[in-house]
């Protein structure tokens, strides 16, 4: 598939590939999109920065939230929708939340039909476990490695569908013609050579921005490049201020700081205690306790520490040992090994020490709920790179289902778009020359810094000034500081050749991270309230007036980044009614 004859003139020094649909990112969303597009009969290219199957989705541990109702029969999509909206503090795009809740069960069953093996109930159906913010036992899981099962299933499905996979390739620019998507420009990480992809439609599935923070569960790939590709091409971003801090990351020893401790530990009955042995969640959320939403638990741990009741290394104790060694090894095997091997802690006999770690970006590229289309014709976005679905805070388990539901939709609609679009694809040579120059420039500037130094400073800044708790002075300071970081990032100097040069790769990734960090800080400054994952010490309360709009980020004509408020779409009556349930209203 995909091998069209390309007319090479002055562009013949470039390697060119042509596809109907190009998917950027090969995590859950990207793979699901590629499979769907391919199933709809178009030629598909799949580009990823790492090797296939290494995407960050493998780190997802707890499960896929889907109201299949195997364990709690009364569960249904309406409740899942309500939980999602409530968890997102009603800032979610209602239509996305609705589609997500409605379609997730089918997507999970589909995975099973493709060979995934979820843990079973005694009746032989998919087993579900409880998770923070979910009213019922809802998370379909495989021990604590659900993400790996999902990605392996999709990968094995995908490789037999004739999808062309381009591994270890970074896309640095989207190409447009007459305002419509016409392709993408990038480089092979291995050789440093440039490559052009011609495509009628492009799906972004590049994940989040966690690498902008110092303590993070995210891998090096999480540098907001998808968001910035869209932003630079003229698309809008929304809700960038909402960065989720997962309450339980490892905090000791130093080498492992930030590594995720799955919420499944709490789902399976783990208890959080402070240094005095007090189960402090009794104080912050007596009803849901440890299974409160992530924003609440993360803040609670933070406050316990601030008031001097934290664990020795600045976190809290999470104890699951009362469940017995055999149960723990069966249901949380990788957690057991992770602590045993990396921290010398046996979680079957003692507590783990945990603290908040940057985990997920609720905001991202603004998309149409049904089609995942951005404002640029031919550009689609699905998964963490897209915003809106999770509002101000994401529930655990909703991410994997988000990837499947909207990954599929992106693939479907992008394929349809590509089929309708018969135009020949011309590549603008000036644009290519520009794109090329903007990434080789790092080899040429003398006196610049090491990109890793700039990255470290960015991480420190974001962690300390735009972290879990925010105040106006800090945010203003950060915005100012980001200006100089942007200049420093633009001037970094790269040693060595273009052959597999991580320093060079970092230099490019840094540009995206700095700009997206600016979007985070500016939106955080604009939202003068506390809501979900966004906590302002100077505005500690949730303000209903602020619940009527999403933050909107745009690139102005002069290239500067501007933030606005965009009114929330009006919810139809029947969905409103669902939310007006008394029990729900009481907990907001």
């Amino acid at each position: 598939m995909g091998g069209y004859k390309v007319n090479m003139s002055t562009l013949d020094r470039f390697e060119i590939h042509e596809h109907d649909v190009l998917v950027i990112g090969a995590g859950g969303a990207g793979l699901r999109a590629a499979i769907e597009a391919s199933a709809n009969g178009v030629s598909v290219g799949l580009v990823c920065k790492s090797l296939l199957g290494k995407a960050h989705t493998v780190m997802a541990e707890g499960g896929i939230a889907a109201a299949v109702g195997n364990v709690d029969k009364q569960d249904n999509w309406q409740t899942h929708f309500k939980d999602t909206m409530k968890g997102g503090k009603f800032l979610n795009n209602y239509r996305m939340a609705q589609l997500h809740a409605q379609e997730a069960p089918e997507r999970v069953l589909e995975l099973e039909r493709w060979g995934a093996l979820f843990d079973r109930t005694s009746e032989g159906t998919i087993l579900q476990r409880p998770f923070g913010g979910h009213s019922y036992k809802r998370l379909c899981h495989v021990g604590d490695r659900t993400g790996l099962e999902m990605i392996r299933t999709l990968q094995d499905k995908g490789v037999h569908m004739g999808i062309n996979v381009y591994m270890e390739c970074t896309i640095t620019r989207l190409l447009k013609e007459d305002g419509k998507i016409s392709g993408a420009f990038g480089y092979w990480r291995e050789t440093g050579r440039f490559v052009i992809f011609k495509a009628k439609a492009i799906i972004l599935a590049t994940g989040g921005v966690g690498k902008a923070y110092k303590v993070t569960s995210n891998s090096w790939e999480y540098t907001a490049d998808g968001q910035l590709l869209a932003y630079d091409a003229g698309a809008e971003l929304i809700d960038t201020e909402f960065i989720q801090f997962h309450p339980t990351g490892m905090i000791w020893p130093p080498g492992v700081i930030g590594i995720l401790v799955t919420e499944a530990v709490r789902g399976e009955g783990g208890i959080l205690r402070n240094k005095d042995g007090y189960r402090f969640m009794e104080k912050y959320d007596p009803e849901r306790m440890e299974l409160s939403t992530r924003d609440v638990v993360a803040r609670s741990i933070y406050i316990e520490n601030k008031e001097g009741r934290g664990s020795p290394h600045g976190g809290a104790f999470l104890d699951i040992s009362h469940k017995g060694a055999e149960y723990i090894k069966k249901k949380l095997p990788s957690m057991y090994h992770q602590f045993k091997e990396l921290a010398d802690v046996d979680i079957t006999t003692g507590p783990m020490e945990v603290g908040p770690t940057c985990h997920y970006s609720m905001g991202g590229v603004k998309v149409d709920a049904d089609s995942t289309a951005t404002s640029i014709p031919g550009l689609y976005a699905a998964g963490e790179v897209a915003g809106g679905m999770h509002g101000a805070n994401r529930l655990g388990g909703n991410s994997l289902s988000d990837l499947l539901v909207f990954g599929r939709r992106a693939g479907l609609y992008a394929a349809e778009y590509a089929k309708k679009n018969k135009a020949t694809l011309n590549i603008n040579e000036d644009e290519i020359a520009n794109a090329e120059k903007s990434i080789v420039v790092f080899f040429e500037q003398d006196g610049g810094e090491n990109p890793y130094t700039v990255h470290r400073d960015l991480q420190e800044l974001m962690q300390n000034k735009v972290g879990i708790f925010r105040v106006e002075d800090d945010l203003k300071f950060a915005i100012n500081e980001l200006k100089s970081l942007k200049e420093r990032a633009a001037k970094v100097k790269i040693e060595g050749s273009r052959m597999y040069n991580p320093g060079w790769h970092m230099a490019y990734d840094l540009q995206s991270m700095v700009i997206y960090s600016e979007a985070i800080a500016k939106c955080a400054l604009q939202r003068k309230e506390s809501r979900g994952a966004h906590s302002r010490l100077d505005y500690p309360n949730t303000d209903p007036e602020h619940g009527k709009w999403n933050s909107l980020v745009k690139k102005a004509n002069d290239g500067s980044l501007i933030v606005e408020k965009s009114p929330l779409p009006e919810m139809p009556g029947e969905l409103k009614q669902l939310l007006e349930d008394k029990k729900v209203a009481a907990k907001i």
């Binding site: 390697e15 381009y166 591994m167 270890e168 390739c169 092979w188 291995e190 050789t191 050579r193 490559v195």
Partner: protein
Amino acid sequence: MSTTLTEKPRKKESFGATQRKDLWWFEPLVYAVGFGLFIIYATWAAFQGKHYEYGPYLSPFYSPLITVSWWKFSPAFLILWIPAGFRMTCYYYRKAYYRSYFMDPPACGVSEGCSNKKYSGETAFPFIFQNLHRYFLLGATVLLFFLWSDVIKAFNFDGRFGVGVGSLVLLANTFLLSMYSLTCHSFRHLIGGYKDGFKCGYQYNFYKKISCGNERHMFWAWVSLFMVGFADLYVRLCSMGIWADIRLI
């Protein structure tokens, strides 16, 4: 990956070349010596053709005792090929002797020093016959019945129940040999490994237990090997008058 790197012929490394800093040669050496000693002893004991009985005890090397007039050699050879074949084709011993004797490989990540040598693994003669392991298991199981009957006889001193140290030695030996057979990979396959799903709970539980024991197949292989040699030695020494059996009851 954009480019396909052409494979260059590998540099030939000398035998034992490795960056490992641990004593990688120690384990294969111990196995080589252990097997070697056993094989030397067993061969000698089998060739001896006498001193295999003492009172109610019969050496496991000679059980069942087949004495036919046309066979001019030691009766041990009529049956020893069965346990020998069973152990030679055993999945555990294969690992051990491929490493210790064939150096294929001597240890993980250690060069064999012969990268141009033709290697056919278990796809061609002679090692393709490893695939008949299950038939040796069958043979060994038949022998086990004789060995258990020898154990019963070993507690029968001229028609009266009695216990000597030799009775216990033979009991321990036959128990260990049984454990070795029960934890065999082929046995595990025959009782359930061939299935993709278990409708019968009993079969599943049995398979599960055998799988559990199979994890320690190496342990049973070594202790039963040591014990069978010792049991023969015990009977032999008693029979030769070098060692006196002690009656306990």
